[in-house]
Amino acid sequence: MSAEDRTIVSRFTMEVATALGAAAIGALVIYGANEHSIGWGDAGPEPGYVPFWLGLIIVVASLAVLVQTLVQRVGAGETFITREQGKRVAAFAVPVALFVPVSLFLGLYVATAIYLLATTTLQGRFPLVKAIPIAIGAPVVMFILFERWFQTPLLKGPLEAALGLY
């Protein structure tokens, strides 16, 4: 077994973590529901009633998954993700996550251009002659499509302001 095939995290660990995460969301829902009356008023359930019980069901059901996992040792020794897969996922997911803050500062068009340029050259190993037309072409097509054709303005940043494209 090469280093690349080694398991970073087992399925068992992820099953437990996800069940706990779901239970935490359930607990948050219960907490949020308690900001309102969760009782049963004259006119049936009060506003907090439905979220409270939903939160409770989430907690109970995810704890049931947790108990099942622990008792039957579901996925113990099974691979959730290998080292090589982890690298591939990170290479894809990190730029995606960075896309959001970049687009909030620079607008969706510029963010798309930067993102496409970065991914095609760094990951796709495209030469710049190919990558630059893609990175500039795609936002231009988007601009024509959305701003002109569909009349749906997208998030813009300083570049569009400088070009007077509002």
Binding site: R11, M14, E15, T18, A22, I25, G26, V29, G32, A33, E35, H36, D42, A43, G44, P45, E46, P47, V50, P51, L54, G55, I57, I58, A61, S62, A64, V65, I81, Q85, R88, V89, A91, F92, A93, P95, V96, F99, V100, S103, L104, L108, T112, Y115, L116, T119, T120, Q123, G124, R125, F126, A138, M142, F146, F150, Q151, T152, P153, L154, L155
Partner: protein, 512 residues
Amino acid sequence: MFDNVPLLLHGFEIALSWHHVALMIGGVLLGILVGVLPGLGAPNGVTLLLPLTFSMDPVSAIILLTSMYWGALFGGSTTSILFNIPGEPSSVATTFDGHPMAKNGQATEALTYAFMSAGFGAMVGVIVITLLSSAVADFALKFSSPEFFAVYLLAFASFVGLGGGNPFKTIVSLTLGLAFATVGQDTISGSLRLTFGFDELLRGISFLVAVIGLFGLGELVLTMEEGLRFNAVASRISPKKVFQTIAKMPRYWFALLRGSLIGVWMGVTPGGPTAASFMSYGVARRFSRRSANFGKGEPEGVVAPETADHAAGSSAMLPMLALGIPGSATAAVMLGGLMIWGLTPGPTLFVERPDFVWGLIASMYLGNVVAVVLVLATVPLFAAILRIPFAVVAPLIVSVCFIGVWTVASAEFDLWLVLAFGVIGYLFKKLEYPIAPLVLAMVLGDKAEDAFRQSMLMSGGSLGVFFSNPLAGTLTAIALILLAWPIVAMILGRRRASAAAVAAAHVERSPS
């Protein structure tokens, strides 16, 4: 039953305008593109297009979206057969025999079998809709709040009872969706729920953002993780072979009929196309005379899942139209669209907007014919698109997803939210939490809660209202039985035969 014919003819008058036929063609082509590209499926594609239809008239909008749905269902099979990569979850079963056929040099035959049987299944689904929908709607017009809540409960319960898989995981997914739906302003009391003081949450959590994250980003991560390699087989289509294959179709009449029946059943109940295609494949493999040949390129192994897939896809529109309950994740998105366009899904739609309902049904006949022709004609084109390196295609899909999220409500917060849903989608897919119930619950959550609370107002707070008449009582009882079913099955110590068939089909899938 046949009173619907004049209404349907009027529907054809609406659907056959140049404008609508053009929308159909455009929708089908976009749909095939979405279906062909991994990580961009039918629910996500329809979601991305939906905000652009807000300004269209509802009939045109629904024709565009449903045509895209048909196109996506067809496109998913193309990649299954040529590349052994299912473009859609519902076309996984098509890879089992479709790709071996293509490797044996029978790509044209496999594609033709797939598209023709898919077209057949879709037609059966649409005919069922034509014959039954107004009867179901008439029946449902008698419903008041308790009956509606019972129907919603039944829809949720059938995921738990019939969905296969771990029932607790289904419940987690379902109730998370319902909880997400309660975020924001409460429709009855006006109080702000689960906003935790964040102004961004006042609008609630849009199911469109959730779908783009769960189905779009989540699925892309999975695709990247598997390290996608396209190993295409020759994709030239010979017209002569197409017609020869069509001439052989009647041989598979039994597989076609059985697949259609399974598909219609799974589409009308919220089993959905994916479960339908697996079940149909499993049943065909078990009972076929040529079952030894399954997995090695048996045409019946293409016909069976494809027929059921499309029969389920189209008949999923029946409960959506007649009851306001979608039978698949994509239908759930369209149902949300209906509400955004200002229509009230459900039985009253047949009375108030017959032009919409029958225009849509007529467009389903035409759209599927258009789709079969277009998908056969464009196989080389879309096969060529898949030769574009995924290093370019995937980032483009990501950009389209973010733009789609922005067009939903022009909210910066949604861009963060879609990332969170992407993570949930990835984890849920890998750990086998079903995603469709979460989406369905987000779309129906508010309506279900309203129905529940209105029922409580009617009865003065007594749960007995759900058993106060035979109709509501029967529906509620079936729902409760379905909820309890997994426990009963566990006690009996044997899972349903269909679950075994699905598992068998999974095992059959060659590790690639």
